[in-house]
Symmetry: C2
Subunit: 248 residues, 2 copies
DNA sequence: CGCGTTCTTGACTGCTTTCAAAGATGGTGG
DNA sequence: CCACCATCTTTGAAAGCAGTCAAGAACGCG
């Protein structure tokens, strides 16, 4: 199962970076040098099959990577088996980008679908790849924003609100990479995965999704989300976790 | 109300950095130069009274600061009044440390007690203050770890577990700055603040705290925590959110 | 000593989980 | 092309954890 079958039918390695490139370009302007660096790195890309760990908690981080294709998730396990997904990684996201020495992975990252990774080109301000360096920095800030939003979601939203808020957020993130629109997009996750992301049980996720379909808000079937009434969704959930300050 | 009355009775500005210095030293070795930079910065320290905003969401970040004394919290508000505290800031923590351009505060930071801040000395690898630079980087990593742990706490722990886990975490953080032990330490927060941190209501926090006292686990009275049975607390909650991987 | 905030308590509601089992779905091999 | 299997989704009933509302007690501050 490939998430982006359209891409996998194209032969050249260079096409594989399209989504990641668009995503990174959205974070910071990239010049030809930046793009060349990326294309070079993409030559060394490798594949990780679904369900396999990309990075194990506690393992030393050798080389930061860029996710070119597919979905992954970052999660923490409790000893009794409970699992909490911290956030999802989409094409263009960075894996194991870490500023300080002795970098050790704080959490496990696992491939959700088949995934293609490439090494993240070295880039520092003032040197080659300046645009990339800025994109990396912005990417980290976005990731922090995701974490903050996730905390607010889990701490203060109801199950219904959590799901809607998360779906909207995910749609926006996917649209940013250009692989699909934000009204209809792929969501290669089971209801149990959604539950582990949103601090719920799969049974309850199932019931909420049914309500949403009944309420004409959105529909999830065979790995595809269709947002039916975006305005109402935003009103219900975007409940402004992020938007509140921006709007006033 | 001052959190650390012992320190406030001492006259010299230099003594005020004691806790922050110990905290930063725990993160990375600091040489004389690093210490001198800090002492210099501490001369320019300023005070923020309890309840006042230190940094407003959306505001540009001009100058990163170090929290020298007192407690603060980082929070996000929903338009309907719900509030989620993301994490607390203790002496030695950094405020507004941000790597990318056009830095804008993602969240509001508010003084919980009277607080003393000083500008964070500029420091980069390879220049003066190399130790500080590393301490900053480690500090950011610790902050990320706090956020990840908070997500797991909110998503997968029961109210009872959340409180214990958070108390243990906070005790460890305070002990790191050396201002008190991790069995008995100040906790200058109301039960409502705890509720906003842990995604609960103040009523329920109250009931859980009573259970814990009855169960002989810990006691909170007049702003002081006393952990009565650390082992059992760890077993119940540390439930290894962080510790799981470390222990095996 | 008086007042506002914080803490406690009780009764009741309801969201979410739990447990269990019956459908659906999709991929695989015969 | 169909039977079969594993996984995922759906459903129901019952229990429980946490929230809500409201009011009284305690605390701390001026």
């Amino acid at each position: 199962m490939t998430v982006h079958p359209a891409a996998s039918t194209r032969p050249a390695a260079s096409t594989k970076i399209a989504f990641a490139l668009q995503r990174l370009t959205a974070l910071a302007p990239l010049d030809d040098e930046d793009r060349a660096l990326l294309r070079g790195a993409a030559e060394a890309s490798h594949k990780v099959p679904a369900r396999r760990e990309i990075l194990a908690q506690g393992a030393p981080i050798r080389q930061a990577s860029i996710l070119l294709e597919g979905w992954a998730y970052r999660a923490r396990m409790l000893p009794d088996g409970r699992r909490q997904i911290l956030h999802f990684l989409l094409p263009g996201d960075l894996v194991g980008m870490c500023a300080h020495r002795n970098p050790t992975a704080l959490t496990t990252i696992t491939a959700l679908t088949d995934v293609i990774l490439c090494p993240a080109p070295q880039a520092r301000a003032g040197q080659a790849g300046e645009g990339l360096a800025e994109a990396y920095a912005t990417s980290r800030a976005r990731e922090e924003e995701l974490l903050l939003r996730q905390i607010t979601r889990l701490g203060r939203l109801s199950a219904y609100e959590r799901i809607i808020d998360w779906i909207l957020e995910t749609g926006e993130r996917i649209a940013l990479a250009g692989s699909s629109g934000e009204t209809v997009f792929p969501l290669p996750v089971t209801q149990e995965t959604i539950a582990d992301m949103l601090g719920l049980t799969s049974v309850h996720v199932n019931r909420m999704l049914q309500s949403m379909r009944r309420d004409g808000l959105l529909r999830i079937q065979s790995g595809m989300v269709t947002i039916l009434d975006r305005d109402r969704c935003v009103r219900l959930a975007d409940y402004s976790i992020a938007g509140a300050a921006a709007r006033r």
